[in-house]
């Protein structure tokens, strides 16, 4: 037996799903089993990785034995760990859900794609090489597009196409920035770049290009145009992973680049990001409130919630690491809550055969677990205590008020109120009787519980912050010392 501290958990997080994807691809009959087992193993691996990080600190692995700048470096700190854990938590629920959701023909495509997507996400969160990140981004994007279109249908195909064009545009713009940085500093390694970077036109251009590309993928207002169509039209588990994980993946890269390379460049950029975030909160929430279809409502809610992540940028210079802790926490709780909401919305859609909000027709008693999941996740989205969303918003609001950014604070509060308005609009209709009652479809238990467990987790996050922050501090991802 190899002692578990010597097991290379980090690399396994990438290799395991890759190998499993190949297996599923070659022998589709084994797909479901392979998928489920791999997901469990990945959970174990993230646990092992966390344990390793806690014992040994920063994870660095020179792939191929070639040190940077020649080789590619894997890099894992507290922030990577958080993202990996988020992926695994959401992934477990999606795996549980998808087991019953897809028919045999769809499953044959779903499982290898899903495993490849997991591998790509894990690779993304563990990479410190901006060109390698480009490849992982493309993997993530293409896998997502294929998944959105998996069940066909006009809306989904249109959504997938729009998403594909946006994601390709984003990647290429990002790559152009990578090219400039490489030719300026002779490396694509983030750690080395951080040492070599100075204030030159190249850095500004790279910030503009990479930033624009990543923000397009993150769907920050006004680059969100592709998101509602894609997120709302995809099959439910895919919607969940798009909103929960994919926008976070590109945000994660943006955050990394910002922290390491671009933060010194300027408060003005940060202020601009903050303002865009604020507009995103208001616009997204308002649009969500106006929707008559459940999945579109949830999708617009994602546009709004992404805004919260960016509101933090102008506050960061003065607030320090604790604010980024808050942002990370918000990311995590949004991931869990939003995945829960999409899964629940998927159940409601399947149950009634439609997702018209005004005709939810007593879903509270007819489909109580899913409705409860939706409402509980909604609590976290609103930022009402006790929930993960509350912790994140508390830290953001605290920083905004402390530094006198009253406008941002007001927007955050108004966003919370609008969120409660659109969520309770749904819940309200779920209590009342509507005229047309089509024959309900039965929903497998696994699909209901997948949603509820995620929602409960997003609430429980309200009580785990000190513990999570301690893990986040590993490797000091936000500078300024561990909290």
């Amino acid at each position: 037996m190899v002692p578990s501290s010597e097991i290379p958990w980090g690399a396994l997080l990438i290799l395991l799903p890759l190998a499993a994807a190949i297996l599923c691809f070659v022998w589709p009959k084994l797909a479901v089993v392979t998928g489920v087992v791999t997901m469990l193993l990945l959970t174990l691996a993230v646990g092992g990785f966390a344990w390793q990080l806690q014992r040994e600190g920063l994870y660095q692995h020179a792939v191929g034995g070639w040190e940077t700048p020649l080789g590619i470096g894997l890099y894992g700190d507290g922030l990577s760990l958080l993202m990996l854990a988020m992926t695994v938590l959401v992934g477990l629920a999606i795996t549980l859900y998808a087991r019953s959701y897809f028919n045999q023909k769809q499953a044959r495509v779903f499982w290898p794609l899903w495993l490849l997507l997991l591998a790509a996400l894990n690779a993304l969160f563990l990479s410190a090489d901006i060109f390698n990140l480009y490849i992982t981004l493309e993997m993530v994007g293409l896998a997502a597009v294929a998944l959105v279109a998996l069940k066909g249908g006009r809306d989904a195909l249109n959504g997938a196409m729009r998403y594909l064009l946006a994601t390709l545009l984003g990647s290429l713009t990002y790559l152009l920035g990578v090219a400039l940085l490489y030719h300026s500093y002779g490396t694509v390694d983030l750690v080395l770049l951080a040492e070599r970077i100075d204030n030159s036109p190249v850095v500004w251009a790279a910030l503009g290009l990479m930033g624009a590309g990543l923000l397009l993928k993150t769907a920050l207002f006004p680059l969100h145009f592709w998101l509602p169509a894609a997120h709302a039209s995809a099959p439910a588990p895919i919607s969940a992973l798009l909103s929960a994980l994919l926008v976070k993946a590109s945000f994660y890269i943006f955050l990394r680049l910002w922290l390491v390379l671009f933060a010194p460049l300027g408060g003005d950029v940060a202020l601009l990001l903050g303002l865009l975030g604020a507009v995103a909160i208001l616009w997204g929430s308002w649009q969500a409130l106006r929707q008559t279809r459940l999945k579109l409502l949830v999708a617009y809610s994602t546009v709004a919630q992404i805004g919260y992540l960016f509101v933090a940028f102008p506050l960061a210079a003065a607030a320090g690491a604790m604010l980024w802790n808050g942002v990370s926490y918000l990311m995590l709780s949004h991931a869990l809550a939003k995945a829960a909401m999409f899964l629940a919305a998927g159940n409601l859609l399947l149950f009634g055969g439609h997702d018209r909000i005004a005709e939810l027709d007593r879903a509270v008693q007819r489909l109580p677990i899913s409705t409860a999941a939706f409402a509980l996740a909604g609590v976290s989205i609103m930022g009402v205590p006790p929930s993960g969303g509350f912790i994140g918003k508390w830290l953001l609001l605290e920083a905004a008020i402390e530094q006198g950014y009253w406008l941002l604070a007001a927007v955050m509060v108004v966003g919370g109120l609008l969120a409660s308005a659109y969520i309770f609009k749904v819940v309200g209709y779920a209590f009342t009787r509507s005229t047309a009652t089509p024959e309900p479809q039965s929903i497998p238990m696994g699909m209901e519980w997948a949603a509820l467990l995620l929602a409960i987790a997003s609430i429980l996050l309200g009580f785990t912050a000190p513990w999570v922050f301690a893990l986040l501090g590993i490797g000091d991802p936000f500078g300024g010392g561990a909290p």
Binding site: P8, A11, L12, L15, L18, A19, A21, I22, F25, V26, W27, H61, A62, V63, G64, G65, W66, P69, L70, G71, I72, L74, Q106, V109, P112, L113, L116, A119, A120, A123, F131, N132, I135, T136, E138, M139, L142, A143, V145, A146, A149, L150, G152, L176, L180, Y182, H183, S184, G186, T187, S200, P201, V202, W204, A205
Partner: protein, 311 residues
């Protein structure tokens, strides 16, 4: 000497302008078929540019993949579009002056940035030169692709697999056209296919020391298969099921297996120097096979099935 430099500069200038002009033409062409043809020409011109920039490996890849296969993919897709779609009028462009201005400013800004870069930058040439000996190959590009940054390539093969999965899930099988294949094409195929296979083998073998390698070889091999498909050879009926899938994953699987084995040893994808050459060759052979079959399958556009398999 002076004159030669001047001539070359003139050539570069013309080539650059030609690329821009072709790009404009192909993007603004009213007729989509013409646009696709122009795109192929654009790809070939790009290959020329790669040669001018001392990037023969890229030139080969561009010619085979960028121009050749992409062109074939575009043609095939165009054929599947409803016919009235093929020469749509262009969008009304009067309102786009603001966008044009913005893009012009962006381009100017980027141009300024590029101009501000130092005349000479070492990049990673020195590191590559120092480590080439222990990489197992002599072609620096191959060394980067399969050794120094082999991890990128591993993921890249996965991208191909992903795309194929997507195409298989979306593509709709069409009844093969019953139009008889002309004798010219048949002859051409009969002549070209063995030649392409030979070229592929050469590229694969030469990749270790000279321009070439798995991607180029795979693309050329794929081109051969595409030709056979065009000539009406029922490849999709011959190669199906597990056998096909095994060929498709040969490259990625070898890569992942190697990654796993090296990880057991110590480090992800760290080859023992004495075996590096052989391992890379093994990887390249497997990758060539997978790339070729994958690209050809992408061209085919749907999942080939045996008669037994359900639809």
């Amino acid at each position: 000497m002076e004159k030669v430099t001047l001539l070359i500069m003139l050539f570069d200038l013309l080539l650059g302008l030609g690329l821009l002009w072709l790009a404009w033409q192909l993007l603004e062409s009213r007729n989509l078929f013409k646009a696709v043809v122009l795109f192929v020409a654009f790809g070939l011109l790009m290959a020329l540019a790669w040669v001018r920039l001392d990037a023969p490996d890229v030139a080969l890849a561009e010619a085979a993949i960028g121009a050749g296969l992409t062109g074939a993919l575009l043609m095939a897709a165009l054929a599947k579009l409803p016919s009235r779609d093929k020469s749509e009028p262009l969008a009304d462009e009067k309102g786009h002056w603001l966008l044009r201005l913005a893009l012009l400013l962006v381009a100017a800004g980027l141009g300024y940035v590029v101009h501000s870069l130092p005349e000479s930058a070492p990049g990673l040439s020195a590191e590559i030169a120092n480590n080439l000996a222990s990489s197992g190959v002599n072609n620096p590009v191959t060394a980067v692709l399969l050794n120094f940054r082999g991890y990128d390539t591993l993921l890249e093969l996965m991208v191909l697999m992903l795309a194929l999965l997507g195409v298989w899930s979306l593509g709709i099988e069409r009844s093969t056209r019953e139009e008889p294949v002309g004798p010219v094409l048949t002859t051409l195929v009969q002549f070209l296919t063995p030649l392409l296979i030979l070229v592929a083998a050469y590229l694969l073998w030469a990749g270790a020391d000279a321009p070439g390698g798995a991607f180029q070889a795979g693309a050329v091999l794929a081109a051969a298969m595409v030709l056979l498909l065009l000539a009406g050879w029922p490849l999709q009926g011959l190669l199906t099921g597990v056998a096909l899938r095994l060929m498709l994953v040969a490259g990625p699987a070898t890569f992942v297996a190697l990654a796993g084995l090296t990880l057991l040893d110590a480090q992800l994808l760290a080859y023992p120097p004495q075996h590096a050459g052989k391992l890379i060759l093994l990887l390249e052979v497997a990758a060539t096979l997978s790339i070729a079959v994958t690209l050809a399958a992408l061209f085919l556009g749907y999942r080939p099935r045996t008669n037994k398999e359900p639809g």
